[in-house]
Amino acid sequence: MPNTANTLQNSFDIRAAKERCLRFRKRILDISQQVSALHIGSAYSCTEIVDSIYHNFMRNPGSGPDTFLMSKGHGCMIQYVILEAMGVLSRADLDAYCTPGGRLGVHPDYGNPGIQAATGSLGHGLSMVVGMALAERTRKTGGIIYTVLSDGEVQEGSTWEATMMASSFGLSNIVAFVDNNDFQSLGRTSETHPSFYPLVEKYLAFGWEAVEVPGHDSAALFEAVMGRSGTKPLMVVARTTKGKGVSYMENVPMWHYRSPSKPEYEQAVRELEVAGQ
């Protein structure tokens, strides 16, 4: 399997990455004003990761050999706005989000443009990624499968089945990220399930290459993927903040699902713009 570092076509530009991520977060805020509920905190948590996959890692997204499967389906709002920016989804699609006649819901639906799998239920993505990686390997396409897992779904037994499978089958064409925001519905994972950690050591023990990075640092994500050996599946454990970029959302579980009010919206835009400068 070719080393990713040798096959990347996109060059890395930190300013462009920051500009895009600010734009995507603001677009998600706009959409939040049209509907009563969306997983805004979950989308902000993995904004830099998903942006990096589309803009820094995948070769010719949509037509190239690589695939991105969003395993943490509840974070797909970030995927929607990126697909909109790429022209894969239309503005009309996003405007009709979660409304009768629209085709985009809170979770990604297989069959919609740019969506590889229906991953509303957690713990399904990584096995499908393993199947995809097997197909690409058998066909010798050189295709790499990228995926983003939530730390919550890493608690699913099915995810560990697939974790064992990927390394046992030597699937070096898998590049996975855990969006490790340390939050789930009922609290902080480190407090409710301390044995969930450490993560990197678990993946190393399962035969993966694994590295931990600050997950809102696009440069660190880039370095982690560029530096991979290419001989094993790679797990990037990305330390992230749920609701990243908006003070009142950060690490507040309520923002897993809530939409901001008008004043909250205005404050959020101001904060994002200040942080983005």
């Binding site: 229906a118 399904h124 499908m128 099915s158 697939a162 064992m164 499978m165």
Partner: protein, 305 residues
Amino acid sequence: MRNTFSEALYEAATANSDIYIVVADISPAGSMAKFSTQYPERFINVGVAEQSMIGICAGLALKGCQPFAYTIATFSLYRPFEMVRDDLCYQNLPVTVVGMGAGVIYSTLGGTHHTQEDIAIAGALPNMQIVAPCDPLECTEATRWCATQKNGPVYLRIGKAGEPVLTKDAEPWQFGKVRYLRRGSDICILTYGVITKMAMEIADRLQAQGKSVSVMSCHTMKPLDRAGITEALRNHRQVIVIEEHAPQGGLAAQTKQIAWDITAECRLDTFSLQDAFIHNYGSHDDLLAAHGLSPQRILQESGNG
């Protein structure tokens, strides 16, 4: 049936490089050794990890492959149920989930290995198709069909080993169509799967009594051939349903529903497994008898004793 399944799948895999088999530490006998030797990259053993088995099949199918998931029926359908529902049925992918040794074939292994509710459970899933061949020849036909169809997911319910050939002279097999294994005019026995052998034995006894008997293999349990069953209900004075499945959601319940819908006038008797976990051990026939499925009881209860 396992052997004919393996042979048919091996042939299909030779013709089509997109055919995969994903097994969970249980491998069909016979030609599967040839399959794994000749196409090692398409024979995938996930170990004891059935949820991943189904997810991997979904991933393969999302890339245009035609995978088969294979293990004992309880573990291919019940253990990874949500993966079957979401990954295969919701996404409508052409994956065949093979449930081997369904019913109470594993007659000494206890209730954990009995598959009594699979038709009802699989049948409740949108997009799911169900095929349950009655003998090795039907199993070959069904496997060939599964290997080429692109409609969506299939639950292929098969037996284990040693099933007699019952369909040598039957009309051609066709997905979605009932099939007469013999044609008569008085009584029609509707059945599917391994228990068809018992249905044939009962038909022999009825014929010995001077009755003219049809036996119909209802191998496609979803979509069920309503027209074919309607015809059987209209053209016989008695219809007897025999199935190795719980009374809910199988052929018995669905035949009664059709009979009501069409205001059938024939006598209708149905024989299913009990709605119970039984704690008996013995041969397959012993287990069926413990559930009340024996030729003698069926003849008696159906008024033909």
